[in-house]
């Protein structure tokens, strides 16, 4: 798969010829990165809901999925008084399931297992890269024709592309 992607990239990319004399500023797509590491604590303070997409009833808790941001954890022991207790911050979140002490979260081309035995200390315990997934934006923006900021894999996993002004972009998709 990686070889295919690499081969595809070499077809898609047009490299810069010479260093430009003046900066070229063009509108294009810039990657947003997230970093995921084993042992990483992903619990942060409870935060406001924005656009909830779906949710999970998990014992006395409600896990509210906020697509592309993460998962709100609500203590629902008393449904008359639900309490927003913590946010599992996972930029790029698409969906999740919960079973016993773990939550499995889909994010770009990955399945991330998070130990939630203590919601306030949720920790990444496994990172599985999915081959042939159609969810990731990977190394270049899909269904896009134009300039983009080249991906730097050292900065993490690309979970979305945002349009902004780019200065001397060195990558371009040609369809």
């Amino acid at each position: 798969m990686k070889f295919v992607l690499f081969a595809l990239m070499s077809l898609l990319f047009v490299q810069c010829e010479d260093e430009p004399i003046e900066d070229m500023i063009v509108s294009g797509l810039s990657p947003r990165y997230t970093t995921l590491m084993l042992g990483q604590n992903v619990s942060v303070e409870a935060m406001e809901f924005d656009e909830l997409s779906n949710f999970i009833v998990f014992g006395d808790y409600l896990l509210l999925v906020e697509r592309s941001k993460g998962i709100h954890i609500v203590n629902n022991v008393d449904p008359a008084n639900p309490i927003n207790i913590v946010f599992i911050e996972m930029p790029g979140t698409i969906g999740a399931v919960a079973i016993d002490d773990n939550m499995i979260i889909s994010l770009a081309n990955y399945l991330i297992t998070v130990d939630i035995s203590d919601f306030t200390d949720a920790t990444i315990v496994n990172i599985l890269e999915i081959e042939n997934s159609n969810q990731g934006e990977g190394l270049y923006p899909l269904d896009y024709n134009g300039y983009f900021e080249c991906v730097d894999p050292d900065r993490g996993i690309v979970y979305e592309w945002v349009r902004e002004d780019l200065i001397n972009p060195k990558c371009k998709t040609v369809q």
Binding site: E51, L52, N54
Partner: protein
């Protein structure tokens, strides 16, 4: 029919056996209808825009992919009932029976195109084992919305699934902006976007009776279980006690 009942029964036995093998019942999350991934026993089923993928999650800290099947495109949601998987997509309702090894066995693909030639609305699907309930919704106002279509198409469709290989449409009902849905006993709960949530008596699916309309909330998805109705909207959560369906009580809300 008898054969499918046996299959479902044996599947349940399989699951209950696996649950009790270590003496502890698993605490498993119940996903709402817009979910793109669910667990059934020791398997995780995930849909991405093109595929349904099965993972063995006997050890949740080490999911192992065991099967992947391409379903085309615009695949959106997945739901489970009694050993049967229901996949909602913009174009069709897919039904799978879970095989002994956890791998989904395709039973049918029912195209919505019969009803709307060039529309591909957004939709989730749920089931109660006898029927599949599908909502199809479009938005005509916001071109950047993935559900944007030039012509409105907003309906609740109900399929008889006695024969999983050949679901038959038995009822359809116009809605305003139908989204997530849930079923408990004879009651069907349907989020209707800015139009709130509607509760139907679905004792006779061909003659749904609207018995309650909760307005004032932009609703997205709902779960009704054990007399507790949980409704999630754009920026808030509301809960209702429906133990007396004729006197539904709002318990509380969380809006930040």
């Amino acid at each position: 029919m008898k054969k499918s009942t046996q299959l479902i029964l044996s599947f349940y036995l399989l699951i209950s056996a696996s649950c009790s093998s270590d003496g502890n019942q698993s605490n498993v999350g119940l996903n709402s209808s817009y979910s793109g991934m669910i667990t059934v026993g020791s398997f995780l089923y995930q849909v991405d825009p093109s595929n349904i993928t099965t993972y063995d999650i006997s050890d949740a800290t080490n999911p192992v992919e065991v099967n992947k099947q391409n379903l085309g495109f615009e695949i959106e949601t997945i739901y489970h009932f009694g050993g049967v998987l229901f996949v909602g997509s913009a174009r069709a309702l897919f039904i799978f029976e879970i095989g002994e090894n956890g791998v989904p066995v395709p039973k049918s693909e029912t195209s919505y195109d019969t009803f709307q030639a060039d529309q591909t609305p957004c939709d989730p699907v749920i089931s109660d084992g006898s029927y599949a309930y599908v909502t199809l919704a479009t938005t005509t106002s916001n071109p950047t919305n993935p559900c944007f279509r030039p012509e409105p198409f907003n309906k609740l469709l109900i399929y008889d699934i006695a024969n999983l290989s050949n679901p038959t449409l038995v009822a359809e009902r116009e809605m305003e902006e139908p989204k997530g849905l849930s079923k408990d006993g004879n009651y069907l709960f349907v989020c209707d976007g800015t139009n709130g949530l509607k509760i139907f008596d679905a004792s006779d699916v061909e003659n749904l009776i609207e018995i309650y309309h909760i307005s004032g909330q932009n609703t997205r998805d709902a779960i009704a279980k054990d007399e507790l109705l949980i409704v999630v909207g754009q920026s808030e959560l509301r809960q209702y006690d429906y133990s007396n369906i004729n006197a539904i009580v709002e318990l509380g809300r969380l809006d930040l």
